[in-house]
C-alpha cells in the first residue's frame, strides 16, 4: 500500500515510522505554495485553512506520485467544522480521482482507530508486535514535544547562537531511526543535556509570552510563519498551550496515571477549572480561555492568540479574552491566519507587540526600584 496523509503537529514523523513498520509505503512532503493553491482551489470557500492545507497536500501528492493508491484523513465527533472533514474530503477526492482509496479515521473512537490502524499491517503483524510499535510511536511523539518545548524556551538566550535548533534537527533524525524504548530514552537524555548546556541561564530573558489558539495554527510552521522563532530571536521566551502529547497524557490521566505538575500551564484539568468563570460548556473555547487566565496568574508578560479566519470556537474565545485582558491587565495580540495572510504583516505586528511588552516591563521595574528606595 502506498499512502499519504496530511501533516499534524509532531505526529507526522512517528506515524510515518509506525506505518513503515506495518509494511506500508508512506510518501510525504512539506507544505509549499503549490499545495496551498490546490487546497484553496478545490475546497469550499468558507472552510477553514487547516482543511484547505490538508486537502491541498493530499492532492499535490496524488499529482506527483502516480502509483499512490490511498490517502488518509482524521476527523472528530465535535460541533466545530472538524466533524465534516472526513465526508468532505472523501467527496472531493472521489469526484476527482475515482481509483484512490480514502481512509476515514475518527479520532474520538480511540479503540476503533487502533483496530483500523492494525488492519493496515495485514495478517503479518501480531497484536503484541503492533502494541509495542504503538507505544514506541507515542514515546517518540512525547520526546519530540518535550524537546520542542525546551527549544522555544532556550532559543531566546543561548550561549552558541543557533546551536539549539541544530540539536533539535539532529534529535529529530535520530528519533526517527530509533527502534526501541531504551535507545529512545538515551537519545532524549543526550539531547536534553546538550540543549541545557547551551542555555545561558545568567542572561536569561526576563520577558515571556504564551501562544494560545487553534491547534493547527500553533503547530504548523508553514501556516503561522514560525512565529515562535521570530519571537525567540527578539529575545523572548515562548510557551505554547497545545501539545499533542499532552492530549495523550490527558487520556492516560483518566486511567489514573498523570505525573505532570498540578500548576502546569498545559494540564487540561487545571485549564478547565480556570475557565469555569467564563464558559459553562466544554467544547473547545475553554482551552484557550483557561490557558490565558492561568498564564495571567503566573505573571506571563503577554499572550499571542492565533486562529484561522472564521474559526467559530476561537472567535467565541476572543470575546472572553477581551474581558480577561482588562481584568488581569495583560496585553493580548490576536493574529488571524489565512491563505491571504502575508509574512510582512505578521512580522510588523509582532515587532510592535514585543516593543510594547518590553516598554511595559521597563516601566514596571523602574517603579519597583523607586518604591524600594
Amino acid at each position: 500500500m502506498r499512502l499519504t496523509y496530511p501533516h499534524f503537529a509532531n505526529l507526522t514523523m512517528p506515524m510515518k515510522w509506525l506505518l513503515e513498520k506495518l509494511d506500508c509505503d508512506v510518501v510525504l512532503e512539506s507544505h509549499n505554495k503549490r499545495s496551498l493553491q490546490l487546497g484553496v482551489q478545490n475546497a469550499p470557500e468558507l472552510m477553514c485553512i487547516p482543511f484547505k492545507l490538508a486537502l491541498g497536500h493530499t492532492l499535490y501528492m496524488i499529482d506527483k506520485h502516480q502509483n499512490l493508491d490511498s490517502c488518509a484523513i482524521i476527523c472528530e465527533n465535535h460541533p466545530c467544522r472538524i466533524c465534516s472533514y472526513g465526508i468532505l474530503f472523501e467527496a472531493i477526492i472521489k469526484e476527482k480521482y475515482k481509483n484512490i482509496n480514502v481512509l476515514n479515521y475518527n479520532y474520538s473512537e480511540v479503540f476503533n482507530l487502533t483496530r483500523q490502524l492494525k488492519r493496515i499491517g495485514g495478517e503479518g503483524t501480531s497484536w503484541l508486535q503492533f502494541v509495542r510499535y504503538y507505544f514506541i510511536a507515542i514515546r517518540k511523539l512525547d520526546i519530540l514535544d518535550q524537546l520542542e518545548r525546551m527549544l522555544i524556551k532556550i532559543r531566546a538566550s543561548e550561549k552558541k547562537v543557533s546551536a539549539t535548533e541544530l540539536y533539535y534537527t539532529q534529535a529529530y533524525n535520530d528519533v526517527y531511526k530509533a527502534d526501541s524504548l531504551k535507545t529512545l530514552n538515551a537519545i532524549f537524555r543526550h539531547y536534553q543535556n546538550a540543549m541545557l548546556e547551551n542555555w545561558d541561564q545568567n542572561n536569561r530573558s526576563y520577558v515571556r509570552v504564551l501562544i494560545v489558539g487553534e491547534m493547527d495554527c500553533q503547530t504548523n510552521y508553514f501556516l503561522n510563519f514560525n512565529i515562535q522563532k521570530k519571537v525567540n530571536l527578539m529575545g523572548i521566551e515562548v510557551e505554547r498551550s497545545f501539545w499533542l502529547s499532552q492530549v495523550i497524557n490527558d487520556f492516560f490521566h483518566l486511567m489514573g496515571s498523570d505525573k505532570s505538575n498540578k500548576n502546569e500551564i498545559i494540564r487540561f484539568k487545571t485549564i478547565r477549572n480556570e475557565s469555569k468563570a467564563y464558559f459553562e460548556h466544554n467544547i473547545g473555547a475553554e482551552l484557550t480561555v483557561g490557558a490565558s487566565v492561568l498564564c495571567a496568574k503566573q505573571r506571563y508578560n503577554g499572550i499571542i492568540h492565533v486562529m484561522p479566519f472564521a474559526c467559530t470556537l476561537e472567535t467565541t474565545a476572543a470575546t472572553a479574552l477581551r474581558i480577561i485582558s482588562i481584568n488581569y491587565n495583560i496585553p493580548i495580540l490576536t493574529l488571524l491566519l489565512d491563505e491571504q495572510t502575508g509574512e510582512a504583516g505578521i512580522v510588523t505586528r509582532l515587532e510592535a507587540f514585543v516593543d510594547l511588552l518590553l516598554q511595559k516591563h521597563k516601566r514596571i521595574s523602574r517603579a519597583v526600584i523607586r518604591s524600594s528606595r
Binding site: 460541533p79 465526508i87 467565541t316
Partner: protein
C-alpha cells in the same frame, strides 16, 4: 413578572411551548420585536465582525429587551437528536450573553434536554421551583405546554409557516382556528429552500424571500416541513456520518425530494461565515449530482447585501428552472 424571549435561535421551534408554559404560570411573555435596522446596528456594535449575521442580530434582540422586561429567558438546548450537535455559536450563546452584558441584564439560562422526556420534565420543574410554585399549578402548565408543542409540530409538518404560527397565537386554546391561513398546494414549480429556521422566517434580513417566491407562483418547501416522512433518508452514508443537527435536516430534505423527483430547483440560503454551511454547500452539490440533478443556487448574504441584487438573481434562477422544466417536459 414580564419574561422576555428574544426572537432568535430556537424561537421558531419552541416559542408556543414556552409562551403557554409561562402564561399559564401567570407571567406576561414578551417576544422581542421583529428584526429592523436599529436592532442590527445594536448587535453589530456588540460583537466582533468575524461572526455570522444571524448571531449579531441575536445579540441585538437580547439587548433590545434590556429595559423592557424583568428577566430574559435564554435556554441552552441540547440537540433533539442524540449523536448530533448544534453549531458552537448556538451552544455558547447563553455564555456569551452573560459575558457581554454582565450583571446589567438578568438572564434565566437553563439547560434543556429535549430528547429525554424525563429529563425535560426535570428541567421544567426546576423552572417551577425558581418561580416558587406548588407542584399542581406547575404540572398543569407543563402538560398544557407539551400539548401545544405537539400541536405546533403537527401543523409545521403539515406545511404551515412556523413564524405565522408563532406570531398569531395569543392563547393555547385558540390554536386550531388558524386553518384558514393554510398554504395552498397549487402551482407548477416547487422549490426547496434550504436554510435554518432562525433566518428563513426573518422577513427583514432575507428581504421577504419566501413571499417573493410565492408571488412568482412557486411552491416553497423548507426542511422543517414533513419531518416525519424525511426520516427515511437517515440511512444515507453522508447524512449518517454528519454531526450537525441543522445540516443533517437540510441534507435529509434534499435527499428525500430529489429521490422522489418532486422538486424543480434548490436554493441554498446562507450567511457569510456560517460554520455549518461551509461544508453544506459542497455536500448539497454532491448529493444533487448523484441523483437527477436540478438547478442549484447558493445564495450567500451578509449585512451589506441589497434587495435588488437578490431579486435579480432570484428572477434569473426562476427563469432557468421554468425553462428546464419545459425542456424536460417536451423533449
Amino acid at each position: 413578572m414580564i419574561i422576555g424571549i428574544p426572537r432568535t435561535m430556537h424561537f421558531y421551534n419552541y416559542f408556543p411551548m414556552w409562551k403557554t408554559f409561562f402564561s399559564r404560570l401567570g407571567h406576561i411573555v414578551q417576544a422581542s420585536e421583529p428584526t429592523n435596522r436599529s436592532l442590527i446596528d445594536q448587535g453589530l456594535s456588540l460583537v466582533s465582525e468575524d461572526k455570522c449575521l444571524p448571531y449579531k442580530i441575536a445579540l441585538g434582540h437580547v439587548s433590545s429587551l434590556k429595559d423592557r422586561c424583568d428577566l430574559v429567558f435564554i435556554p441552552s438546548i441540547s440537540s433533539p437528536d442524540k449523536k448530533c450537535f448544534f453549531c458552537p455559536n448556538v451552544i455558547y450563546f447563553p455564555d456569551v450573553v452573560k459575558l457581554i452584558f454582565g450583571a446589567s441584564l438578568p438572564i434565566l439560562a437553563i439547560g434543556i434536554d429535549q430528547c429525554h422526556y424525563r429529563k425535560m420534565f426535570k428541567t421544567y420543574s426546576q423552572l417551577g421551583k425558581i418561580f416558587s410554585y406548588d407542584s399542581r399549578t406547575f404540572k398543569a402548565a407543563y402538560q398544557q405546554a407539551i400539548k401545544v408543542y405537539a400541536d405546533f409540530n403537527v401543523l409545521v409538518n403539515y406545511g404551515y409557516r412556523a413564524d405565522d404560527l408563532c406570531s398569531h397565537i395569543e392563547y393555547a386554546d385558540t390554536y386550531f382556528d388558524l386553518k384558514s391561513n393554510r398554504v395552498k398546494a397549487e402551482g407548477n414549480l416547487v422549490i426547496l429552500l434550504l436554510g435554518y429556521n432562525y433566518y428563513i422566517y426573518d422577513r427583514y434580513i432575507t428581504f421577504d424571500l419566501v413571499d417573493k417566491l410565492k408571488q412568482m407562483g412557486l411552491i416553497v418547501v423548507t426542511p422543517d416541513m414533513h419531518q416525519d416522512k424525511i426520516i427515511e433518508a437517515n440511512k444515507n452514508e453522508i447524512v449518517s456520518s454528519l454531526n450537525w443537527y441543522h445540516s443533517k435536516a437540510m441534507l435529509k430534505a434534499a435527499l428525500y425530494y430529489l429521490k422522489r423527483n418532486q422538486i424543480d430547483g434548490i436554493i441554498n440560503l446562507a450567511f457569510f461565515n456560517c460554520t455549518t454551511n461551509a461544508a453544506n454547500t459542497k455536500l448539497v452539490e454532491h448529493i444533487n449530482l448523484q441523483y437527477q440533478s436540478v438547478p442549484l443556487m447558493n445564495l450567500i448574504m451578509d449585512e451589506h447585501s441589497s434587495e435588488t441584487g437578490i431579486l435579480t438573481r432570484l428572477e434569473a434562477f426562476v427563469d432557468t428552472v421554468s425553462n428546464l422544466k419545459k425542456l424536460r417536459g417536451n423533449p
